[in-house]
Symmetry: C2
Subunit: 390 residues, 2 copies
């Protein structure tokens, strides 16, 4: 039934995001898990948590796959069924969705979902190569294109079709750095000026250094339960009332459009329908701003504005903390950072903070409905979730 | 309720297993999917299948992650939510389990689960390295141990504790090659003598070349549905009546025992309990014989014999086609081959053939209950599923 809660979030955790030297992914995940456990004294993790689904994108970074079992043990959850979920940068958005299935199936009353990535110990060229594995090998990687290049193609198409400007792209970065400045867990806690963004060095025109998200270490997690038992664990459960996922071709050459992501539009449609929510009902959103153009396209794919009007939306300040639809209050992938496997549930973590009134200096007032939009690669996977304060 | 069907398998597909030169994983998966579609004319794949979960272990082989979206497109399922599941060599056992959750959740009436790996285009040293990523990096890989070494430790412990012999290990290989000889899709369709196995070159004592499973390309899939609609698609649905999964430490140094796998024992206990089935009720089983010792340990962990009696069980011929509990009628990982991500659902495929009477020369008579046992790495993950003919 429309708007019925699928599951309730009863706790959440986030590690510090940044360059976490000397730590393994498993240790970073344990930090996030510890926050979730500390936040929820009524939870007996070892006894109550019946499964773990963890988003993790790349085994190459640490020469370590089999991530589920590895992080489960370090989080104090030895022997529980632990499964790695991978849909590129949407891995933990997909992990949340699988966790929802596990709860609804009746198999598990309480499930932990999360994500983790350890990236900064690798050279930038290595990270670029490992990330590129989420694009098409024969038709993209082989020819030398990497993610900044793929998103640059989308940006030039959007500029050509709709007149979107380099300054509008830069305004996404300025806004998200303003938010990240207020988030003590963000990787970059500094503001940037429009001039600094547009004059930063070109990575893949029109995308410059400050149009790109960060290579970051980090982990995130949520504890989700059947809604009817949520009050056992917390006075402030947050309901997940919509979950959507869709796919698209791995290579962008096969797509109908370069100015929107079909997977995101399909996932959003499913999610709004299930939640009984319209775009104008959303009070706060975290969207997948791996590059500034991606946030502008996300506004349009999610219906926050009409196609082609995303640049104008950010220019008018409507997605700032005090705007009509604040987007990426956490700082987003741009300033909070983008430990790829951790991003989806890190977005949900921020929405959890906002809806429970724990977002401190970046708290948006009177928020009831939140949304998280998580994209894999250049858009071959997208997940959308809608959350509601009880 | 005990023994209630969780889902029904309405179709299944398996690519040829072997050295499939010139093909990408996505093309091999499409071959398996095509068999599943051809086998089930009442299925309209594009319309009916609501999600795909695909086991895939290593992005390193093809420099290609984001496997869900990639294989979905090539299988003609563009735009459906497609998610990669990774628990090392148990990846598609875990994918089946996630697919069961998706159906039981009410989100999806029909789901495809499967797995794929393309390995043979890489040098053996590369494959050994990529496989090792499923063991512990700081405490195992770093010190140079690889999977033959880890399983050799278990083998020597088993020999020391129970008197298991090198000949008994070899008998597993002889039996599985006999079965593989009868399976036209097996990688190695040749019989081997006991003498040939025990005199083959030592890989990691006591494991010799013929004690090790094969580096293989291959893919497998199942189409699963809510039991109440299964007859819409086939006259011979096979029910999944039990699903278990458990974990253990990633490194074997932390384990209580080297002569059994705790994860497999826990998963088996859950599955038998859910299915209302006892070990002696199982008519046919596919178990994870990545090395011959692993099959002997599996007999014991699954309760087909008492701890320590696995060597004797194979020696007495009880696990041969004509024995009391035929094991690895497909040829197993040993002779059919072990395209790691594909193995879990390839085991389920064999059980599907056996329970529907389609196993041709290797058909076991009067089979009603089948079991599949899939292990990740050295046992940090295990899944067990029990299947029943309607």
């Amino acid at each position: 039934m429309k708007g019925e809660p699928l599951v309730s979030i009863v706790s959440a955790g986030l590690s510090k995001f940044g360059k976490l030297e000397g730590l393994y992914a498993r240790e970073i995940f344990a930090e996030a898990a510890k926050e979730a456990f500390d936040r929820c004294p009524n939870l007996n993790p070892k006894k109550d948590i019946k499964a773990l689904f963890v988003g993790h994108m790349g085994e190459s970074y640490e020469h370590q796959g089999h991530t589920g079992a590895t992080v489960a043990d370090w989080a104090g959850l030895l022997h529980i069924p632990a499964t790695r979920i991978e849909t590129a940068c949407a891995s933990s958005g997909a992990a949340l969705r699988v966790g929802i299935f596990a709860v609804l199936s009746g198999f598990c009353d309480v499930v932990m979902v999360g994500g983790v990535e350890k990236m900064t110990h690798r050279r930038t060229a290595e990270v670029t190569e490992y990330l590129a594995m989420a694009s098409d090998f024969p038709f993209e990687q082989w020819h030398g294109i990497t993610f900044p290049g793929l998103y640059a193609l989308m940006a030039t198409a959007h500029m050509h079709r709709y007149g979107t400007t380099e300054e509008q792209l830069a305004m996404v970065a300025v806004k998200n750095h303003q938010n990240g400045f207020l988030n003590p867990k963000a990787h970059m806690q500094k503001e940037v000026t429009l001039e600094k963004v547009v004059s930063s060095r070109v990575v893949a025109w029109p995308l410059k250094l400050y149009d790109c998200s960060l290579i970051t270490d980090g982990a995130s997690c949520l504890v989700i339960t059947k809604p009817e038992i949520a009050k056992k664990y917390t006075d402030m459960p947050i309901q997940v009332i919509g979950s959507g996922q869709a796919g698209d071709s791995i290579g962008i050459y096969e797509r109908e459009s370069f100015t929107s992501l079909m997977a995101a539009k399909l996932a959003a449609r499913q999610t709004y329908e299930m939640a009984g929510v319209k775009p104008e009902d959303v009070d706060v959103a975290e969207v997948h701003d791996c590059f500034t153009i991606a946030e502008i396209i996300a506004y349009e794919d999610l219906g926050f504005c009409k196609p082609g009007e995303g640049g104008q939306l950010v220019e008018e300040g409507e997605t700032r903390l005090e705007g009509k639809i604040p987007v990426n209050t956490s700082g987003g992938l741009k300033a909070k950072g983008h430990p790829v496997g951790a991003t989806g549930t890190a977005q949900a973590y921020e929405i959890y903070l906002q809806l429970t009134g724990q977002a401190e200096k970046r708290q948006v007032k009177d928020v009831k409905i939140g949304l998280a939009h998580n994209v894999g690669g250049s858009g071959a996977t997208a997940t959308v979730h809608i959350f509601r304060r009880e």
